[in-house]
Symmetry: C2
Subunit: 295 residues, 2 copies
């Protein structure tokens, strides 16, 4: 990682933390425990990949910082809510997340359910508030709602649930991930760009290609890490997919071919950015980061 990109990343993660703190109700607001749990689930953790994508894509069109912060907080709240619900006993039943007890372990299941529900509403709320063109914001809200819902992230989770113990082929595995994690990563890239201008069809198509490549790469690397890293490094339970008999790229293709696929997808992502020139530097480096990450 070059130093300039590293500095930008740390600064953007700090900005994201600050704005999440600002955009979440504080712990003194009634009901206090729900708000404390919402903050616990969202703050002080994670790599903030989605906010980084929002801000990096915003650079393409010199998007205003205030609107980018709202878009970044909104996608991160959607992501945080999905983790809280995903970790619940009726889903993945996971006790550890970002190195901390999951919300239903730290509080209880009912609180975890409500935390996720309230975080989703808060994500949409954040994008309706603040300054900015109403038509553009409406388009952003529509994109986020579609990416979060039944033909996006929730739909991917439903397919994931239905695929436990089922022998998926690579195409089916990719489709599942395209919805489960890909939809929100794509939304992050497009939302960041939309903070700057109304996108042309060509711009949308190029960013879609980039997002599709990094989205898939992200999941392939996740599977590689799940098979090779330990829980302490990951901040979550390692080896869980194999133990749960879930199909992964590693189980389907093996480790070496999975790593080669991730590298190829990184090249594809870089190629998709060609039309944007130097303005796409941050998105370019983020693709590298996603493929080279160790946790």
């Amino acid at each position: 990682m070059n130093e300039q990109f590293g500095n930008w990343m740390r600064q953007t993660q700090a900005t994201c933390e600050t704005s999440l703190k600002q955009f979440l109700p504080d712990e003194n607001t009634v009901p206090q425990q729900l708000h404390a749990a919402m903050r616990y689930a969202t703050l002080d953790g994670g790599k903030r990949v989605r906010p980084l994508l929002v801000h990096a894509a915003g650079q393409l069109f010199d998007a205003p910082a205030a609107l980018l912060s709202r878009a970044a907080a909104a996608v991160e709240m959607i992501h945080a809510y999905s983790l809280v619900h995903d970790d619940m006993p009726c889903m993945d039943d996971d006790a550890l997340r970002r190195g901390k007890p999951t919300v239903h372990v730290k509080y209880d299941e009912a609180t975890a359910l409500l935390v996720g529900d309230a975080l989703q509403a808060q994500a949409f709320l954040v994008l309706t508030e603040g300054e900015g063109d109403a038509t553009a914001r409406l388009a952003m809200l529509q994109l986020l709602a579609r990416a979060a819902g039944s033909v996006g992230m929730c739909g991917g989770q439903a397919i994931d649930l239905a695929s436990v113990g089922v022998a998926l082929n690579r195409e089916q595995l990719e489709q599942m991930h395209r919805l489960k994690t890909g939809a929100l990563l794509r939304a992050s890239v497009l939302l960041g760009a939309m903070c700057g201008k109304t996108l042309t069809a060509d711009e949308t198509a190029a960013l879609d290609s980039y997002a599709a490549a990094i989205g898939l790469a992200f999941q392939v690397v996740d599977d590689v890490l799940d098979a090779t890293a330990d829980s302490a490094t990951l901040g979550k339970t390692a080896g869980k997919d194999a133990a749960d008999n879930k199909p992964t790229f590693v189980s389907l293709m093996g480790l070496d071919a999975s790593r080669a696929l991730a590298t190829q997808l990184c090249h594809d992502a870089h190629a998709a950015l060609g039309r944007f020139g130097d303005k796409a530097g941050l998105l370019h480096d983020l693709a590298d980061l996603i493929v080279q990450r160790q946790a």
Copy 2:
């Protein structure tokens, strides 16, 4: 109930059913089971009180029917998702809803969790689509997000959870219901009116008074029915609040005083509508309906 109002109600309920069918993804769209379960949770059931409030409030300012249908569908989807999550074992653990098995009984808990999550996203999506002024729609989305979230419905449910077995006084009980059910009923009234025009502070205040009165009346009547009606009439498990040791207006004030309170609140609701004249006829009759309902 007068015949004209009865006709309007049945016609509006049918309109609502039609638009919900249209605004929910169909059962042939991937993932099919999730979409089937979302439709199961939402269609063919319920009194559609919130959609009725949206349409009745829309009459105040001659709001366009297409926008009213979207607003009505959005609040009903938020309501439907909240019932699905509320019925789950970690919350109220209820097996019967609207006379049918609850979603986690008919399908499973993980599906119920995802159905609720996806319905919430769908609610916001529906309000971003279609024709209409972007600034007005942004204001409507903001109102709905706030009403659904941690300082609205979800917040009320958190307070409700924390109050099991706790001796609430009447003020605390009212505050809980103001959030848990009142926030979305208020949103229904305001959204319907906002489909017609941008509201003045005075108009908002009058509609707030109306909504506060019917919201509280709705809950008082719910408690009376829970204590007096049978499960077959209610379409859900009767006597559940008492069995769960939850505070209710009936346990706090007794049956007669609860019934008298409901009647008083109905008068308050009618009084709040004075400034709107004949245009408020449907809202007037809806207040009667809420207090006189038998299920």
